[in-house]
């Protein structure tokens, strides 16, 4: 007996402030004008995508003591742009990344509950944490949070937000004009939370929203992050977009659910995925190579090498050999506000490995950065990409993908026009929205049903 085909979930990540975004392409539009967001969101909705995804950063990145200027810099406020997008779309989910460290639960809960009302139930919150004093310099509390407490605060933040969302049941507003009763319950919204990170009480002032709570995303990859997701999240925005790594991650995270009384289908795994799409596979391969060279200019290559070397390498020729000098492992990191530098846990070993790779292949600095960086996840003709993408999902490398185009705002158009119809023909992607809320699209139960289910079991 063969397994029934899984339905694929697809989302669109607005191209952001990483070097995957090719701003130098003549077709590249504004990253800040609202028209760009409208085009991108409408394309995603036309293609019946589950949701649009926005990242967030609260301090401009620096390298070598100066603002990093080689990638796109600047982005809008997450909540504000999502609320505006709710006006120009009808069904598309609206997922925003919001930091739990430099916010307070009362305010964030009111913003998500408001967004959920204003979008008729399409909001989602990608909960992220940070701890660094660098970002803290923009906020009242500064760098107040020790690194090892960031998940404990994030967990308590989310739990507190849930208490606020749940402080209204949904039936309090009577608004009976004849009798003069507006509220059924004088205590609507009452809450008390005494915890390590938050000690608050009072009344929440946004009535229960259509989805009850926003859909919760988690993006951290550490063991603690995975456990947090297994316990609390509805979906994970993961980085494992290849088949083997995706399957390993998928198995690991889904196996953690049982101990929280949850089924595997209650947590979706949605990796970020880049793509190079062309009419033929050969053309797509050529496009993929060309885009990689655009993404990694000579200047960018030197800056990326600095992530490992932790030294000013501006005097090196990007078309020349790797530095002979070893990475500096003794001083604070040259790159600030950038999580990826933490991937290089042993810079001396990485530098050795890269020198050997470069020597064996006769690679310049730029060649090396291009080859060791992430290649596009999906490269090919529409039929190749549709086939591969579906295979990944059916093989449990993921439940779908959050696509990250490299051109703003039109980078999704061709995928919508050429790949989506093939997935629909295969019967693995919706031909129209079946429900109205993001929970509907993702096949997630309303929190009230989940609560009843848990109470009954």
């Amino acid at each position: 007996m063969s397994k029934p085909l899984k339905q694929i979930h697809l989302a669109a990540h607005f191209p952001g402030v990483n070097n995957t975004t090719v701003w130098s392409d003549p077709r590249a539009g504004s990253h800040i004008a609202f028209d760009s967001f409208v085009h991108f969101a409408r394309t995603a909705e036309r293609a019946k995508f589950d949701f649009l995804f926005l990242a967030e950063g609260l301090r401009l990145r620096e390298q070598g003591g100066r603002i990093y200027d080689l990638d796109v810099v600047g982005r809008p406020d997450t909540f504000t742009v999502l609320a505006a997008l709710a006006a120009v779309t009808d069904r598309l989910g609206l997922t925003g990344t919001i930091n739990s460290t430099f916010n307070e639960p009362y305010e964030v809960a009111r913003q998500f509950a408001s967004l959920d009302h204003l979008s008729d139930g399409r909001s989602a919150w990608n909960v992220v944490t940070s701890w660094d004093a660098f970002t803290g310099e923009n906020f009242r509390r500064g760098g107040f949070l020790p690194q090892d407490e960031r998940y404990s605060r994030a967990k308590e933040f989310l739990a507190t937000a849930h208490e606020l969302f749940d402080s209204w049941q949904g039936d309090e507003i009577v608004a009976d004009q004849a009798t003069g009763t507006f509220l059924r319950d004088a205590q609507a919204g009452a809450f008390v939370h005494h915890g390590k990170h938050f000690d608050i009480h009072g009344r929440f002032n946004v009535p229960r929203s259509p989805q009850g709570r926003p859909v919760i995303f988690q993006a951290g990859d550490s063991d603690e992050g995975r456990e947090f997701a297994a316990a609390e999240a509805d979906a994970i925005f993961s980085r494992y977009g290849t088949l083997e790594a995706g399957q390993a991650f998928y198995t690991d995270v889904k196996s953690r659910l049982a101990k929280y009384g949850r089924r595997p289908d209650q947590l979706l795994i949605l990796p970020a995925a880049t793509f190079a799409l062309a009419d033929t596979d050969a053309e797509a391969e050529e496009l993929a190579r060309e885009v990689r060279r655009q993404q990694v200019s000579g200047a960018t290559a030197l800056k990326h090498l600095e992530f490992v070397w932790n030294r000013d390498l501006s005097g090196y020729d990007p078309e020349g050999p790797l530095p002979d000098v070893d990475p500096d492992v003794d001083t604070d990191h040259i790159a600030r506000g950038r999580a990826q530098v933490r991937m290089y846990r042993d810079p001396l070993a990485t530098a050795r490995e890269w020198r050997e790779l470069a020597a064996a292949n006769n690679w310049s600095i730029r060649d090396l950065v291009i080859h060791t960086g992430n290649r596009q996840n999906f490269v090919g003709s529409p039929s190749t990409i549709a086939k591969t993408l579906n295979e990944y999902v059916q093989a449990d490398a993921s439940d779908g993908f959050i696509l990250v185009p490299h051109i703003t705002p039109t980078g999704l158009d061709e995928f919508a026009d050429k790949v989506v119809p093939l997935l629909q023909e295969q019967g693995v992607f919706r031909t129209d929205y079946e429900g109205t809320t993001l929970r509907d699209h993702l096949g997630l139960a309303h929190p009230d049903e989940t609560r009843e289910h848990r109470a009954a079991s």
Binding site: S24, I32, R59, D69, P76, T80, V81, Q177, N205
Partner: protein
């Protein structure tokens, strides 16, 4: 375009008698029983449709802008404490997000949500209003407010506010301090708006540089309540500086208006009071060295408007009976016809006010009475625009796009 040196009241491109009109939106209206009127739609209060309908109506009336009330706790019949009433509207949506949700559905009208300075992060507020300016292509502003309510402080748990008896002068020290903090908040918000120069994004393919980082600036604000480094994550918004507005009833907030705002809302009950308040604000403006900068002073009025003055009175009485007590307000409460209101506004205008923010007693009734009754009456008198004459909110108010404080001259 150079910064205007004239006060907007005397700006030459407008008829001397032209006044500005804004409407303050709050739930179903400012009267606590307004939700019980047949036109009130109380069950729609938490929908986008409701707010879109109100703002669209205001735009049909060519109004300069709408403000949206907000608060970090439920509404209350007490000024400083929560209540447990079930016979009035309780609960509201975040005003910045309502404004943003409505922005793509409108084209000309300004959108001015309330932001509470007391418990919020200036960094977040600055980028939120900058983004509202982007999604509305230059129609954003904010109305800054403080809260001294101990129950709202407990929603954040970051500080305890000593309970005060009232906001009446002489202001308790805690309130003066909250206004000082609000002034710092506005200063940070404004510096962050300027932290990117307009031409900072260069997209220089030859050198691979997306921005000219010499045109991004740390704001390095250090104050008693917070320090903020900058720059903003959001580039300078279309208006350069979105509109900053504040409601003021006493010397300390008048000073905030005079030092930091583009529009102040005040609550004189007659022309004499208006003259005195305007004089005090203008003196503070001079003392702050801002006398060359345009600053609007708007009068706030609650309005019950009907074509027949008896009908307006009867409606007010009916609502008072439902509420169980006569309606009172910090602002002058006007009850009468559009023509009578036009007379009153023009008299107050002659005392130095440059515009008015009207608070509809019943949004579903008094807002259309403003747009379809008062506005045509003022137009007949040559005292209000017949078409939108600018694409931005600053433009509607005769305010130039300001130079960036960080740009080299």
């Amino acid at each position: 375009m150079s910064p205007s040196s004239a006060n907007p009241a005397t700006a030459s491109e407008r008829p001397a008698s032209a006044l500005h009109l804004a409407v303050a939106l709050d739930g179903t209206g400012w009267h606590p029983a307004s939700w019980r009127e047949p036109v009130a739609r109380p069950r729609d209060l938490f929908t986008a449709r409701y707010w879109a309908d109100l703002v669209t109506e205001a735009e049909h009336g060519l109004l300069d802008f709408v403000t949206l009330e907000d608060g970090l706790g439920p509404q209350s019949s007490h000024f400083l404490d929560p209540d447990e009433r079930t016979d009035q509207v309780r609960g509201r949506l975040d005003a910045v997000l309502v404004a943003s949700r409505v922005a793509p559905l409108t084209r000309h009208i300004g959108l001015v949500p309330t932001v509470v300075a007391t418990h919020t992060e200036p960094f977040h507020i600055s980028k939120a209003i900058a983004t509202l300016d982007y999604v509305s292509t230059g129609r954003a502003g904010l109305r800054v407010q403080i809260t001294a309510r101990p129950n709202e402080a407990a929603h954040f748990g970051r500080r305890t506010l000593e309970r005060i008896d009232s906001y009446d002068p002489p202001l308790p020290p805690v309130v003066s301090e909250l206004f000082d903090e609000a002034a710092d908040h506005v200063e940070v918000v404004r510096r962050l708006w300027d932290s990117w120069e307009d031409d900072a994004e260069i997209r220089d393919v030859a050198t691979g540089r997306f921005i000219d980082r010499d045109k991004l600036h740390y704001i390095d604000f250090q104050g008693r309540h917070f320090s903020v480094k900058g720059p903003s994550i959001t580039p300078r918004p279309p208006q350069g500086q979105p509109l900053v507005t504040a409601l003021a009833h006493a010397t300390v907030p008048y000073r905030l208006v005079a030092r930091a705002a583009d529009v102040g809302y005040v609550t004189p009950h007659d022309a004499g009071q208006a003259r005195a308040i305007v004089a005090e604000i203008r003196a503070e403006q001079d003392a702050a060295g801002r006398s060359a900068e345009p600053l609007h002073v708007f009068g706030d009025l609650v309005v019950f408007l009907d074509d027949d003055p008896g009908a307006a009175r009867a409606r007010r009485e009916r609502l008072d009976a439902l509420a169980g007590e006569p309606y009172t307000s910090d602002a002058l409460v006007f009850t009468g016809t559009p023509a009578q209101l036009a007379d009153q506004l023009q008299e107050l205008q002659s005392a130095g006010l440059t515009g008015f923010r009207l608070r509809p007693a019943v949004a579903g009734h008094d807002l259309p009475a403003i747009t379809r009754g008062l506005v045509p009456e003022l137009q007949r008198r040559g005292a209000f625009r017949r078409a939108y004459e600018a694409d931005t909110l600053r433009g509607l108010l005769g305010l130039a796009r300001p130079a960036n404080r960080y740009a080299a001259a």
